[in-house]
């Protein structure tokens, strides 16, 4: 027999039926059901197949610890594998599929693995595929990967939104069971800001649906009124459906809220999940405890479930998991399940307990329901394939162990097991010393805090509701006090009679010596008790080795139901106590997290912010190919119909040299440098002199790193005696500013200099070409443009159509050229004005590619050459490193390695066979040694319309003495070899005659 819906009881809304499918079959549940309870109510026994042996598995628990019932939800782009059925709230139209089976859940071909069991024992992969047979892995990998894993995700784009948010509070409370609720009540009335988090849709934890009375009312009603009080307080934030998954430095917490997981589709503009970064002064961990199973043969048979889970299904969901139920427990607490079943009218056949004596309340519960009480007994085996049919019980005493010859069989369809409780110390263990062993509970408790938290209630070993309520008040008040609040005392509500969890007999393993059949420790990873023994025999005895060798506790459930038993078995093998063997530490996340929740809004167009120049819209409207340069969007080429990128940039570059072109250079870093010491400051940060730069002039400057390597270059314009405008490369705009600020703050605080980024204040465009002067003369209102009035490197302030502009006569292209700076908001208008006036001068807008072409033809260096490994001398700029002053980098630039004659030097390269030269190619001697030695590499390359050849810049060992040599530029990854000739890097107009006209 299977589970069924009880006629009454439970918190479900029987007036609201909900329909759902499981493996395509239609079922009905009720509002308030979980997928697990609804399947149980419909008599579905098998919810999945196990990881390794593909054994049929049924529901095992009622919470996040579920190791068996993992399902895939929804379909198509919303497919989500590995959802724990007890944590899935039922909704109308829910679509669920079982996993890890083929072709169907009933008939799973991989179940043959079960017969091959001995081959698949611990260390199977290492033994089979490593060492001498390593090559076998290459062969088997494909098949193993296909067989392994649990559910399959989707390759489709997730259509849902995810968000992140930040919260700050005084006290964060993780868990809203009796302890957490009480802590919140105690702390909240002091005025402290509280965030109360719980992973269930309805808060209340163990109080939900309980038959226990709290205060004057049933526990459930008390719980609802407590929540009503809390939700009315402005200083309390309640976060249901939220899991605090990680504990980070400075009391920062990661939490994920499942905002819309309980709905078929998130409402418009509502995220599916929300990631919370919570910064709290104090944390109260009220995470509860997780029941642990017992080990016997066939303990994974569908129908074997955790005892308290059965109580929850009965009391909260009105479902009985079977008709003839037995209990196998080593502690009194589990007898609450017997009481709940009896109250619901479900037959409890037998109660099996290894202890010779049990508590009086527990005894009276059993006697009251008429079940057979078998103290001093254990269950040694569960029988039945696809559903539990019977249990075998055997006398047991602590001295002689299991006496298997005396076993008898009891027909049951469901077995409740309880091996005691494991406090949920996960969060605590992320911020504490080693966990503490508690002998009475046979469990690990939180260790010494290394951050401001306290654990209270079941996670701290308090296993009765009354004790939890008291502990909650204490923890809440103490946390509020630690935040500087003065909580007034509140009284503990009285709790009706309850069976407490005292008097546990730490029995871990109920297998008779030499007993047959698989007894599982880790259900999710299919690790058996004999795997632990095997690990011990093979020398993997440390808990860390045990974990990695057997994969015990490494499944997505993090061993929530298995770790303790694994430790206990290893301790038994080694003849040590459990605390001597020790425990592993829990890492975040407590439960698996969707990557979408971590990504939040940072996806698609929002993956990174984009930075646009003031002329951006014009570029786009003109059909420019935009490209990302760092965060900037820059025009690459303005392609005309049918042009390739290469054709476009060749046309643009040619037109610049023939008439005039305009390019957007707004991305250059621009730094306002002001103050009485500004000139001296610049003189210290640039390697060349700046003290004598006259007002109204610009100078090209080099900056070195402190270690003497070349760092950045750019022009700096003297706008006044104490005022300069520095420009940097696009890439180094922020680092240069940061360096200048550092120098002023820490190295020369006495200097009166202020540096400010004005990169966004100015739109900048370079107008270059033989007709540049004529074009600007046509548009500028009040700047004399003759060579005498406005010489090379001159800087002038004036107006263009009434817009204030700064114009500097600088040339990156080698042509007669000017840079025009206008206020950013006027940038597009100024650009348009120049373009309009430029029609008469055959003006062309050019992009980054042509900009590169023009500067390579001139041998001007840029990012690819300023790669952090080159010196000024390497790039032919040695003359700019002054010998008459000290500056950043001067002390280190003459180190032996930096002045070595054999260093790679900047050279020009011309393709000899008409092929393009690929950047990144290595330069080698033709027909030389094999494998060839790299003499250098190509840094920048282009087609040169001026030379009508493919040309490149490169860094070549002893390059200046190799002018005229024939080399090969080789790119082995693409099998690309080009014959090149080494030439001077000044390909075009080396005298600079074109820009000095």
């Amino acid at each position: 027999m299977s589970g069924f819906r009880l006629p009454s009881c439970g918190l479900i809304d029987r007036s609201r039926p909900l329909h759902f499918t499981f493996d395509g079959k239609r079922y009905q549940g009720f509002a308030g059901d979980s997928l697990a309870s609804a399947l149980l109510a419909n008599g579905v026994d098998i919810l999945g197949r196990s990881f390794k042996y593909h054994r049929p598995r049924g529901l095992f628990s009622a919470g996040v610890e579920e190791p068996n019932a993992m399902v895939t939800l929804r379909s198509s782009a919303r497919t989500e594998p590995n959802c724990k059925a007890p944590m899935v709230e039922l909704f109308e139209g829910l679509e669920a599929k079982s996993q890890n089976r083929w072709p169907s859940l009933g008939l799973d071909i991989m179940a043959l693995n079960g017969l091959a069991g001995p081959l698949l024992s611990a260390g199977f992969y290492y033994k089979t595929f490593m060492g001498p047979t390593r090559k076998a892995w290459m062969f088997y990998e494909h098949f193993i990967r296909k067989a392994a894993g649990m559910g399959a995700g989707t390759q489709l784009r997730d259509p849902d939104r995810y968000e992140e948010t930040n919260a700050f509070c005084d006290v964060l409370i993780a868990g809203a069971g009796p302890t957490g609720l009480m802590a919140a009540l105690a702390a909240a009335q002091s005025g402290a800001r509280i965030v109360l988090v719980d992973d269930q849709a309805e808060m209340g934890g163990s109080l939900r649906g309980t038959s226990l009375t709290v205060g004057e009312a049933a526990g459930d009603i008390w719980c609802r009124s407590a929540l009503a009080v809390l939700s009315a307080l402005p200083n309390v934030t309640l976060l249901p459906r939220t899991t605090v998954y990680g504990y980070y430095d400075d009391n920062t917490f990661g939490a994920v809220e499942r905002v819309s997981d309980h709905l078929p589709v998130p409402p418009e503009a509502t995220p599916r999940q929300r990631h919370w970064t919570i910064r709290a002064k104090q944390l109260v961990i009220a995470a509860g405890a997780i029941e642990r199973p017992l080990i016997f043969a066939g303990n994974d048979t569908p129908g074997v479930m955790l005892a308290d889970a059965i109580r929850i299904y009965v009391e909260r969901y009105g479902v009985s998991p079977g008709q003839r139920i037995a209990l196998f427990a080593n502690n009194d607490g589990a007898y609450r399940t017997v009481a709940a079943l009896a109250k619901a009218g479900v037959t409890v056949v037998a109660v099996v307990d290894p202890r010779p004596e049990i508590g009086a309340e527990a005894r009276s519960v059993v006697e009251g329901c008429g079940a057979e009480l078998l103290t001093g007994h254990v269950v040694t085996r569960a029988r039945g394939g696809r559903r539990l049919a019977a249990i075998e019980v055997t006398p047991y005493d602590p001295a002689n162990g299991v006496q298997d010859r005396l076993h008898r069989s009891i027909p049951v369809d469901c077995l409740a097991v309880s091996g005691g409780w494991t406090p949920t110390i996960h969060l605590a263990s992320q911020a504490s010393g080693p966990a503490r062993w508690d002998e009475a509970l046979a469990a690990f408790l939180p260790g010494e805090p290394t951050q401001p938290w306290q654990a209270a209630g079941a996670c701290s070993g308090e296993l009765s509701t009354a004790a939890c309520l008291t502990a909650g008040i204490q923890a809440g008040a103490e946390a509020a006090r630690a935040c500087g609040f003065a909580p007034s005392p509140i009284s503990v509500p009285a709790v009706g009679p309850e069976i407490t969890c005292d008097a546990i007999l730490p029995l871990w393993d109920a297998r008779p010596a030499g007993g047959k059949g698989k007894a599982f420790v880790d259900l999710q990873h299919d690790v058996t008790a004999s795997d632990v023994s095997l690990a011990h025999r093979e020398g993997f005895r440390s808990v860390e080795h045990l974990k990695r060798y057997t994969t015990l506790g490494m499944a997505t459930d993090q061993g929530k139901t298995s770790n303790m038993a694994g430790l206990a078995l290893m301790a038994q093998e080694r003849g040590l106590s459990i605390p001597e063997v020790g425990t592993t530490r829990f890492r975040p996340p407590y439960t698996p997290i969707a990557l979408g929740a971590l990504a939040g809004q940072a996806r698609g167009a929002h993956f990174r912010p984009l930075r646009r120049t003031p002329m951006h819209d014009w570029h786009v409207a003109e059909g420019a190919d935009m490209m990302e340069v760092g965060l900037w969007q820059r025009p690459r080429v303005y392609r005309r119909d049918g042009e390739t990128v290469e054709q476009a940039y060749i046309r643009e570059a040619r037109q610049v040299r023939q008439s005039v072109g305009i390019v957007d250079v707004s991305t250059l870093g621009k730094i306002d440098v002001q103050g009485p010491d500004a000139a001296e400051f610049l003189n210290r940060v640039y390697s060349n002199g700046f003290l004598k730069l006259p007002e109204g002039k610009a100078r090209y400057g080099l900056m070195l790193r402190e270690d003497g390597f070349l760092w950045d270059d750019g022009t700096t314009w003297r706008l006044g005696e104490h005022r300069f405008l520095m420009t940097t490369t696009t890439a180094n705009a922020a680092p240069v500013l940061a360096q200048l600020e550092f120098l002023l703050a820490a190295v020369w605080p006495e200097m009166k200099v202020a540096v400010t980024s004005v990169s966004d204040q100015w739109a900048a465009m370079a107008v270059s070409g033989p007709k540049a002067r004529d074009l600007l003369a046509a548009v500028l209102d009040d700047i004399g443009m003759s060579n005498e009035a406005f010489p090379f490197m001159g800087v002038r302030e004036g107006h263009l159509d009434g817009v204030p502009v700064l114009v500097a006569r600088l040339s990156f292209s080698g042509e007669l050229a000017y840079e025009v700076y206008a206020g950013a908001h006027s940038g597009e208008a100024v650009w348009r004005r120049i373009m309009a006036a430029g029609e008469a001068f055959d003006v062309v807008a050019y992009g980054l590619e042509a900009l590169g072409t023009l500067r390579i033809e001139k041998g001007h260096v840029a990012g690819p050459e300023l790669d952090g490994r080159t010196t000024a001398e390497d790039l032919g700029l040695g003359g700019m490193t002054s010998r008459r002053k000290d500056y950043i980098g001067s002390a280190m630039m003459d180190r032996e390695g930096l002045v070595d004659d054999n260093r790679m030097k900047l050279v020009g390269l011309i393709s000899r066979d008409g092929q393009p030269v690929r950047s990144g190619s290595h330069l080698i001697v033709p027909n030389g040694e094999s494998p060839p030695r790299s003499l250098g590499h190509v840094t920048s390359s282009t087609y040169s319309p001026a030379l009508e050849k493919y040309i490149a810049l490169g860094l070549l060992e002893d390059g200046r003495n190799r002018i005229g040599e024939a080399l090969v530029a080789t790119y082995p990854l693409k099998g690309h070899n080009v014959d090149v000739e080494v030439v001077s890097s000044h390909f075009f107009d080396p005298e600079g005659s074109r820009m000095h006209v």
Binding site: E721, T756, D760
Partner: protein, 200 residues
């Protein structure tokens, strides 16, 4: 020549995007800066610079870190030791400040076109901002008139609280549109209304 062009032109025009609940939880308005000027005082000239700023703007600079002061259309924000951002409706502000704060006192830098400002106000303003702002927006921790220099979605932003439910967000001009797109997406959940640019 044509008027000044905002980077949000074509994006910050009035509209209503309500959420499922049918209410606009926040109103977003592109504010138009007339003058935004940074003043930096040499450490031994702070008092003179503050006097000079007060003389020009008739507004006393804030006397504490992270503070701001307000008088009529002038706002002065403390953005660092001896550093202020002065915003005003006076188009000649930079010129006037430069005239009284010479190189002997400090430095004046015109940033009027270097920033875009978006005002967000409404009952959901802190909820929307919390999606990107990792600072405590509780009025006790971040009271009205306080400013914070931080980042939202990797974009540097200066946040100034106007009132409990109202904030000005200053971002670098080049990031303005990207930031606006992020902000409207973040506000979609609670619904938003865009008021005419310059109306706040």
């Amino acid at each position: 020549m044509s008027d000044l062009l905002s980077p949000l032109q074509g994006h910050s025009e009035p509209r209503v995007a309500v959420a499922a609940q049918g209410e606009a939880g926040v109103a977003l308005t592109e504010r138009r800066i007339v003058s935004l000027v940074q003043v930096a005082a040499w450490s031994d000239r702070l008092a003179q610079v503050e006097d000079a700023v007060a003389a020009v703007t008739h507004c006393t600079p804030p006397q504490r870190p992270r503070g701001s002061s307000l008088r009529e259309t002038t706002t002065i924000m403390a953005i660092g030791p001896g550093r202020y951002l002065v915003e005003s409706a006076d188009p000649e502000l930079a010129k006037k400040l430069t005239a009284v704060i010479g190189p002997d006192l400090g430095a004046v830098t015109n940033l009027s076109q270097a920033r875009s400002v978006v005002r967000i106000n409404g009952p959901k303003a802190t909820w929307v901002l919390s999606k990107g702002l990792a600072i405590d927006l509780d009025p006790a921790a971040f009271p009205p008139l306080d400013v914070a220099q931080t980042a939202i979605h990797e974009v540097g932003v200066l946040v100034r609280r106007i009132a409990e439910d109202s904030f000005d967000l200053y971002v670098f001009r080049g990031f303005a549109l990207s930031f606006w797109a992020w902000l409207t997406e973040a506000a979609a959940e609670t619904g938003y209304r865009v008021d005419p640019p310059g109306s706040a």
